[in-house]
Symmetry: C2
Subunit: 301 residues, 2 copies
């Protein structure tokens, strides 16, 4: 580990140019990995870049704080930006290109096009942040056009986002493979997030309540508890840390619909500490089998 060297990533600002670079590398037989980010990079992003570097010949990381995925009153203006520190981290990860466009490169003058996803974008973050996933789908569609990579890497921490992007890629028929990587955590369990930097020290100590609630959910799930019981327990664990709960839910992992027997589930939580909003989640592997009795009836009142 050290500072960026002369062999660090090439920073490219124009989509036309990054596209040409990626296509030339692919034409030369190289496999390209792409990690879209909003910068303020942490160990979670580094793990995505490392996985991409492991599986691909060249890695592109985009750094773009996308205005269209922030709602009015959200933290677009104060969102942390430090391209120099980000470039150092990516140099150490062996990244070849940083695509760091201006807003005008992604949203040209007169821009009037949005990509809108329903389905997995409804509810949870979609309900808490109206327009958020339209902004995500819109920017990711543009980034995938600018960076025609073989694979794109996303963190499981934004679980619903991975479902929205996967839905868009399937529906539009975009020629890219998605790879979802495990959430990286602080020693006390807090999921890595650029927004953790907002937390005052006392709030930072209490923020682990989200991860604690997910640990408890995983244990209860494996013990056979029913969904309402697990959700009540999660909510209690989060509130016990002084976090205002936005939602604490156990739903089907792929559809976010009510979970059926034999289906993988996901526990999703969102909460607020002061002006900072944090989310986290944990996959709960399918329990019971399709052939087994319906647990929801067994446990019904």
């Amino acid at each position: 580990m050290g500072p960026a060297t002369a062999a660090g990533p090439t920073v490219v600002g124009e989509r036309r140019r990054i596209r040409a670079e990626v296509l030339a590398a692919r034409a030369a037989g190289r496999r390209i990995g792409f990690v879209p980010t909003m910068g303020a990079l942490h160990a979670g992003h580094a793990s995505l870049a490392a996985r991409a570097a492991e599986e691909c010949d060249d890695v592109v990381v985009s750094i773009f704080v996308n205005p269209t995925q922030f709602g009015p009153g959200e933290d677009f203006d104060r969102y942390p930006r430090d391209l120099r520190a980000d470039a150092d981290l990516l140099a150490r990860a062996g990244v070849r290109w940083i695509y760091a466009p201006d807003a005008g490169d992604i949203y040209p003058p007169g821009d009037a096009t949005r990509v809108v996803v329903a389905g997995p974008a409804l509810g949870f973050e979609g309900a808490a942040r109206p327009g958020h996933f339209d902004g995500v789908a819109t920017v990711v569609c543009r980034l995938f056009a600018a960076v025609p990579a073989d694979r794109a890497y996303f963190g499981a921490k934004d679980w619903q986002q991975t479902l929205v992007v996967r839905r868009m890629v399937a529906d539009l028929g975009l020629p890219i493979e998605l790879v979802v990587c495990a959430t990286v955590r602080e020693p006390d369990g807090l999921a890595m997030s650029s927004r953790n930097a907002y937390l005052a020290p006392d709030d930072r100590r209490r923020a682990c309540g989200l991860a604690e609630s997910l640990e408890r959910a995983a244990r209860l799930w494996s013990e056979g508890a029913d969904v309402p019981t697990i959700e009540r327990d999660m909510r209690g664990a989060i509130e016990a840390r002084g976090i205002a709960v936005d939602y604490a839910a156990v739903v089907a992992a792929e559809s976010l619909a009510p979970v059926a027997d034999g289906e993988d589930a996901v526990a999703l939580v969102a909460g607020r500490l002061g002006t900072t909003r944090l989310i986290d989640n944990r996959l709960l592997p399918a329990r019971g089998g399709r052939a087994g009795p319906r647990r929801d009836r067994e446990g019904g009142a």
Copy 2:
């Protein structure tokens, strides 16, 4: 001219396969032209395919009656479909591939993604046919992913559609060049359209009123008439043929906004004959210069 030969186009039903074919041809250095259609092909489509064949090494024509661009109560069910006749016409035009997908190939199970364009999609056809251009943008985005051609060919007859597609391509950064080709007309001036087949003989005779109104508009425009005068004249000419006018307008050709001095204009008309709705348009080259007097003030009341 003759029936399709054994060397006629290859019909491909899956986006994965047409994409692979096009990419392989491009990798071999061939230039690919693409003509998206809804089938029921006529001389207008043939002229697009011929232009594509002239400028490119291989031509793909897609035939897909796209359900999402029809509104409730529109003519999706009765829209003419005749793949055999279409294939014969395209064989004579030297087309290499016909991409004729099922709805499920374009709209996979669980589909939840729409591409929505504002700007040039507002007003005129966008107002008369709510959701129409969302359907157009959604399907063209998918078709461009399935058929990664160098150039795509559209008819000027659907002028507003060409603006919507151009806006989407610019905004999403899609790597395809658009070519807009002149409208092909019947001897009496009626613009070629698959919907002309709906017209009863008497309505067919009266349908030339749309083209007549555009002829008159072009003459008045070149003589310096103001926009309201031209619009009144067009409306009168259309109604004189017993056509119910949806709109008859002269606007800026690129934005569909009120036309300014020194700007290219377009005359747009839409009307109904019985249950058949027809549209047409004519470009009106810029008159006066930026340095000239403001005609709208000169002619003002």
